[in-house]
């Protein structure tokens, strides 16, 4: 089963994948820094995780090493657990404070 894989290595350099995933990471970073709604901040963290996944997959395929794709698998596992716990915390915080604005989540300040 010879697919289009040899063509992609000659026509697209790995640098472009690194540029794309870094751009996605920066977009997520800007979202985390700017947005006030905690659910959107959480989504931006998901974008950052996906950018890292894309970079790991690209390097794994370009270097013909399956370790990178296994690492992506574990990243997805950890992201699923993180989202479950994080959304439970958001629901609890919403029950107590009745808001999702992160500027008002300052009750733990000593």
């Amino acid at each position: 089963m010879e697919t289009a894989s040899p063509e992609i290595f000659s026509s697209i350099p790995l640098t472009h994948y690194i540029l794309l995933s870094t751009t996605l990471f920066v977009i997520g970073l800007i979202g985390v820094m700017v947005r006030k709604n905690i659910i959107i901040v959480f989504m931006c963290i998901e974008i950052m995780l996906n950018a890292a996944n894309l970079m790991l997959t690209a390097t794994s395929v370009y270097y013909n090493n399956p370790g990178g794709q296994i690492m992506v698998f574990f990243t997805m596992t950890v992201a699923a657990a993180e989202v479950a716990v994080g959304l439970a915390i958001i629901v609890m915080a919403f029950k107590n404070l009745n808001t999702t604005n992160i500027d008002l989540f300052n009750k733990l300040k000593g």
Binding site: M1, T3, A4, S5, E7, I8, F9, S11, I12, P13, L14, T15, H16, I18, L20, T22, T23, L24, V26, I27, G28, L29, I30, M33, V34, R35, N37, I39, I40, M43, C44, E46, I47, L54, T57, A58, V61, Y63, N64, P66, G67, Q69, I70, V72, F73, F74, M76, T77, V78, A80, A81, V83, A84, V85, L87, A88, I90, V91, T99, T100
Partner: protein
């Protein structure tokens, strides 16, 4: 041909990720995030990593996004919460993010990437990945099962109904 597909997909991914960040409505953000995940899955297919493309759609677009949508509808967040429309945080964030991008790219330009590697087209198939996962990465696999158990216990503990102690 394939490079045109790659550039189209890249531009679409970046645009839809930007729309996640700038949309005012949380539901619109979730829908653009689903679109971003599908486009990243298309990138995985382009990279010949079919198993990861499937897992990405099932886990992210299927499970995690449904969780997000469920929480947004549960909390009834259909209203705007950002009152002040100051552009200063956007400027600061974009400048610092651009600095990060610049530093990464300048570090990359000094790096020499090896290009003479033998490629096999069956690398991303489930048979190959499963062999590696269950032979070389068996302990991390079992530990991720423990992680899920702990996460489940944590979620049950968090969502338990508890008395709110008023400290006023």
């Amino acid at each position: 041909m394939i490079d045109k597909v790659f550039y189209f997909l890249s531009i679409a991914t970046v645009i839809s990720a930007t729309l996640v960040v700038v949309s005012k409505h949380p539901i619109k953000s979730v829908l653009f995030l689903v679109l971003t995940f599908f486009l990243i899955s298309a990138h995985y297919v382009l990279l010949n990593a079919q198993f990861l493309a499937m897992v990405n759609i099932v886990v992210y677009a299927g499970a995690i996004m449904v969780l997000f949508l469920f929480v947004i509808m549960f909390l009834n967040l259909n209203k705007e919460i950002e009152q002040h429309k100051s552009l200063i945080p956007w400027f600061i964030a974009i400048i610092s993010g651009g600095c990060f991008l610049l530093i990464t790219m300048s570090a990359l330009s000094k790096t020499e990437l090896i290009s003479s590697v033998e490629h096999s087209s069956s690398l991303g198939l489930v048979e190959n990945l499963g062999n590696v996962l269950y032979k070389e990465y068996l302990l991390p696999m079992e530990l991720s099962a423990v992680l899920f158990l702990i996460a489940m216990a944590g979620v049950v503990l968090l969502s338990r109904k508890e008395k709110i102690v008023d400290t006023k």
